[in-house]
């Protein structure tokens, strides 16, 4: 079975993607558990009311019942939307390593997105930190990529398989040529010149 090659927007023509990593699943697990709890509340209340005999059935024909059902429906729809948005916030946070650069994508809310790039030839050191019982057990932690010059360090939290990521980044950073080579973007994608700080 062939797998689709990894790609992302603004990928260069001859750039090879090594990995595209989301945050560890435990980050989204806790958040989703909270939303599921809130969504289950109206259902539990209705079931309890029906079981206790205060409400005859699921269908209502009174004004008060209708208002309650509409209110509960709005509440559940809102919880579903917030859960979806929370999941998207988690899903769009990525750490990408290619043979040329490291890219950190951070989605903040629904309409704010920060993309930071660091050429591999600027990578000075990669440090990982695993703190806490869950992190140690599941093998996720914080990666800090120190860069040369005045660029800010990359700090990415809750990265799974941190030590493997560290090894891969260091390996490709060692292999990266230490000269600035101009790369052509893929056809059809707008070419964005790299900013001096590595941030857009």
């Amino acid at each position: 079975m062939t797998t689709k090659p990894l790609t992302f927007p603004d990928k260069h023509v001859d750039e090879v993607v090594i990995f595209m990593q989301h945050r560890h699943w435990s980050v989204i697990f806790g958040r989703m558990a909270r939303w599921i709890f809130f969504m289950a509340l109206p259902i539990v209340v209705i079931v309890v009311l029906i079981a206790s005999g205060r409400v005859a059935s699921f269908t209502v024909d009174s004004a008060g019942g209708a208002a309650l059902v509409l209110g509960a429906s709005i509440f559940m729809l809102l919880m579903l939307l917030l859960a979806y948005q929370d999941w998207l916030d988690y899903y769009l946070d990525m750490l990408i390593l290619s043979n040329e650069r490291v890219i950190q994508i951070e989605q903040v809310g629904m309409f704010k997105r920060t993309v930071s790039q660091l050429s591999l030839d600027k990578v000075q050191d990669v440090t990982v930190e695993t703190k806490g019982m869950l992190s140690s057990f599941f093998g996720f932690g914080t990666i800090t990529i120190e860069s040369a010059g005045e660029m800010e360090n990359f700090i990415v939290h809750n990265v799974p398989h941190v030590e493997q990521m560290q090894s891969q980044i260091l390996m490709y950073a060692k292999q990266a040529p230490r000269t600035g080579i101009e790369r052509k973007p893929q056809p059809g994608t707008p070419s964005v010149p790299p900013s001096p700080t590595g941030r857009p």
Binding site: T59, V60, A63, A66, L80, L81, A83, L88, L92
Partner: protein
């Protein structure tokens, strides 16, 4: 104070419309910036599907309601009559 029940329905539909627009925006963001993986499609389908399910259950639940009736909302403690001492 009596409020026509239909007002509740109109307010509900307006809120559902706003939530639908936001859901569409989130869906567009997911399709635009996501990696087009199976998990993104599954999650998007699941969330939107559950929202549609909630709407269907809601309309099934209130289909017998007489929307032309009114609902009285009383404020406890307020009275139109004045007392004399």
């Amino acid at each position: 104070m009596s409020i026509p029940l239909a007002v509740f329905l109109y307010v509900y539909l307006a809120i559902v419309l706003v939530l639908g627009v936001f859901t569409l925006l989130v869906l567009v963001q997911a399709m635009r910036f996501g990696t087009k993986s199976t998990s993104s499609y599954v999650m998007s389908f699941l969330c939107v599907g559950l929202m549609v399910l909630v709407l269907v259950f809601t309309f099934v639940s209130v289909r017998n309601v007489d929307w032309s009736s009114t609902m009285s909302i009383g404020v406890p403690g307020l009275s139109s009559s004045t007392g004399s001492t």
